[in-house]
């Protein structure tokens, strides 16, 4: 008996070739700027804007890194960004977790939840000036706290909704079982619901870290000299009238490592966190 040919995904050879061709083009499109940044970081000054362009630095140099990190304070910039991103992540996550749980479990009304989400609709620029004046009056301008609080304001709605959706997938019977077993409502959250939701917490935390890491506008408004996140610092890498492309690339290259490491390590959780509602089997 002849078996019916299994329908294969992809179909004809031409389709397959087209598919891979498209993937290659897309890959080049997205990867080329990264590649260019990396090689520029290792290029000596005369090759930064050479024409025709050089696709590999000859000879590679670490001078840009030295200048960027130590002479232009890039290291401090990255450290400042790390402090701000970590602070934002910790604060937003702690608040977002609790608020998300409350929205998931108690009848607080869709209106309030929507109001929180609506904070995200407004462009940060609309608030930047207000933040500037507010933190200036409070004497918090140019401090970590100012930028962390500003980032928290904008990231909190996102964290609340992401965590709420995650907690919605955790059966309510588990909290109730914990309460019957002797937990307070908060105890049920910390002992049972939160440990089960670790993937969601990790995914949300990683995203919060990256939002803050890459945020430019508020960081620009609220920082001066004491606190200089790398995103604010890099555009200042000038030598006379020239942009120091190599130095910019070197610091940018180093600054892009943490998000890449996070994504690589937490890839599994991020996919789960972003495909919300998938918590079956919990």
């Amino acid at each position: 008996m002849r078996r019916k040919a299994k329908p294969t995904y992809g179909g004809s050879l031409a389709f397959k070739i087209g598919k891979y061709l498209f993937l290659i083009v897309a890959f080049v499109f997205f990867a080329f700027p990264l590649y260019w940044m990396v090689i520029t970081a290792f290029k000596p000054e005369q090759e930064w804007t050479a024409f025709p362009p050089l696709f590999f630095p000859a000879p590679p140099t670490l001078k840009n890194f030295y200048e960027g990190l130590f002479l232009m304070h890039g290291l401090k910039g990255i450290m400042d960004s790390a402090i701000i991103a970590t602070g934002n992540m910790a604060l937003t996550l702690s608040l977002g977790m609790l608020a998300g749980y409350a929205f998931s479990r108690f009848r607080l009304g869709e209106n309030l939840a929507f109001f929180i989400l609506s904070q995200r609709f407004a462009p940060p620029a609309a608030f930047a000036v207000a933040f500037f004046i507010l933190f200036d009056k409070l004497g918090l301008l140019d401090t970590y706290i100012a930028i962390i609080l500003a980032h928290t304001t904008f990231n909190l709605p996102f964290a609340v909704w992401l965590m709420k959706t995650y907690f919605d997938g955790v059966p309510r019977a588990l909290d109730e079982a914990a309460m019957m077993d002797g937990c307070s409502p908060l105890g049920a959250f910390f002992r049972v619901v939160l440990p089960i939701s670790t993937p969601g917490v990790i995914a949300t935390g990683a995203l919060l870290f990256m939002f803050s890491w890459n945020e430019f506008l508020l960081a620009l408004f609220l920082s001066r000299t004491a606190v200089t996140p790398f995103v604010v610092l890099i555009p200042k890498f000038y030598g006379g009238h020239d942009i120091l492309y190599g130095v910019v690339s070197a610091v940018a290259f180093l600054a892009s490592i943490p998000p890449i490491v996070i994504i690589t390590l937490l890839h599994k959780y991020l996919v789960r966190g972003l495909t919300l509602g998938y918590v079956k089997g919990v």
Binding site: A177, M180, C183, V192
Partner: protein
């Protein structure tokens, strides 16, 4: 050891009244079943007792103490959920030990109690596993173990057997009943399955639309249903109902429908006539009290065979009178084909009469 009193319990969800002035007592060590169809308010009642829902009105007393405002953790009640609600991130051992750890018992005592309960429920070999590695029946035992290990004052069970397959359910039914009697813990058990209620309960509360329809022993529910709802809900296959007019003619009490006329036992008929609010009543006969008649008699009715359902030891015969379908249960086999004309009769001492308007039983 505990007694529980529920007084005029009311719970509303928006416009809906889920539980409407429900009152009952549960005696010490009693196995009380809350029975009703979905939406009858049985689970809501249980959740109010557990403290997971706040009653809108009424009081709940545990051993005479008002517990309306006592949080669930301080009520000393253990609950078994329909979904078992095992903690997925903990091993079976930790699941069972969880309530003891929260009570800060010494480690050695936790260990010995967990092992003792695991032994009792024959899950000792599963202690190291995670819940997702267990079968439904095993998960069920772990959920029971977690409830038992605490030695609570009251067990609350919310349809704990409904997720098991039919065979395991019958087995666990007996097991659970035996366990409850051994432990002697006051138990409130919610189910929509009347067979579970009949086989396990000391007493049953039948609920419908948030109102108690009847509270009694399984025997009372079956033999003396107080209204049409209980009569129709308890018993499988359910009771047959015939609507007709009750009249007294020449010193006889007759039940007349458009298809047939029956003479009722005089005494019973008199009582029904006196109590009924109108002349239209519902006659109820259980399938096991209807028989296939050999020959025409004063109580025989002509019917047509609709379906024959052989169950091995007994046969359910669906028959039609007019365009309505009724059922009879026969011990042994019946050799009929759909469409066969038959005569059916009934046991005149085993009939029920209900008021059409109020639904109330007229004879008991």
């Amino acid at each position: 050891m505990a007694t529980l009193q529920v007084r005029n319990l009311v719970k509303r969800f928006g416009e809906t009244i889920a539980v409407n002035k429900v009152s009952f007592d549960v005696h010490d060590g009693e196995f009380m079943v809350l029975l009703g169809p979905s939406g009858s308010g049985k689970t809501t009642t249980l959740r109010c007792i557990a403290g997971l829902e706040m009653p809108d009105e009424g009081e709940i007393y545990l051993d005479g103490e008002l517990i309306n405002y006592v949080p669930p953790k301080d009520r000393d009640m253990a609950m078994v959920f329909q979904s078992y609600a095992l903690y997925p991130h903990m091993t079976v051992y930790d699941n069972i030990a969880f309530p003891l750890k929260l009570r800060k018992l010494p480690k050695s005592e936790i260990d010995s109690r967990v092992k003792e309960v695991a032994e009792m429920l024959r899950i000792s070999h599963l202690l190291g596993r995670k819940p997702h590695q267990l079968s439904g029946g095993e998960q069920q035992r772990v959920a029971l173990a977690r409830a038992i290990v605490r030695k609570p004052r009251v067990f609350l069970m919310d349809e704990p057997l409904s997720n098991l397959d039919a065979k395991l359910r019958v087995y666990m039914r007996a097991e659970l009943k035996k366990l409850q009697k051994e432990l002697g813990v006051t138990t409130i058990y919610v189910t929509h399955d009347q067979v579970e209620a009949m086989t396990m309960a000391d007493r049953v509360i039948v609920l419908n639309k948030g109102i108690i329809q009847q509270l009694g022993t399984p025997y009372e529910l079956y033999h003396k249903p107080q209204n049409l709802f209980v009569a129709g809900f308890v018993g499988s296959p359910p009771m047959n109902f015939f609507e007709g007019e009750l009249v007294e003619e020449d010193g006889r009490i007759l039940f007349k429908t458009s298809e047939f006329t029956l003479e009722l036992p005089y005494e019973a008929g008199r009582i029904a006539l006196r109590k009924a609010s109108g002349s239209i009543v519902i006659l109820g006969v259980r399938p096991e009290h209807i028989y296939v008649a050999e020959e025409k008699g004063p109580r025989s009715i002509e019917a047509t065979v609709f379906v024959v359902e052989p169950l091995g030891s007994e046969t359910i015969l669906d028959f039609k009178i007019g365009d309505k379908i009724y059922k009879l249960r026969h011990e042994g086999e019946l050799d009929f084909k759909p469409g066969d004309k038959i005569l059916v009769t009934y046991d005149p001492d085993r009939i029920y009469l209900f008021d059409k308007k109020t639904g109330k039983a007229l004879l008991y």
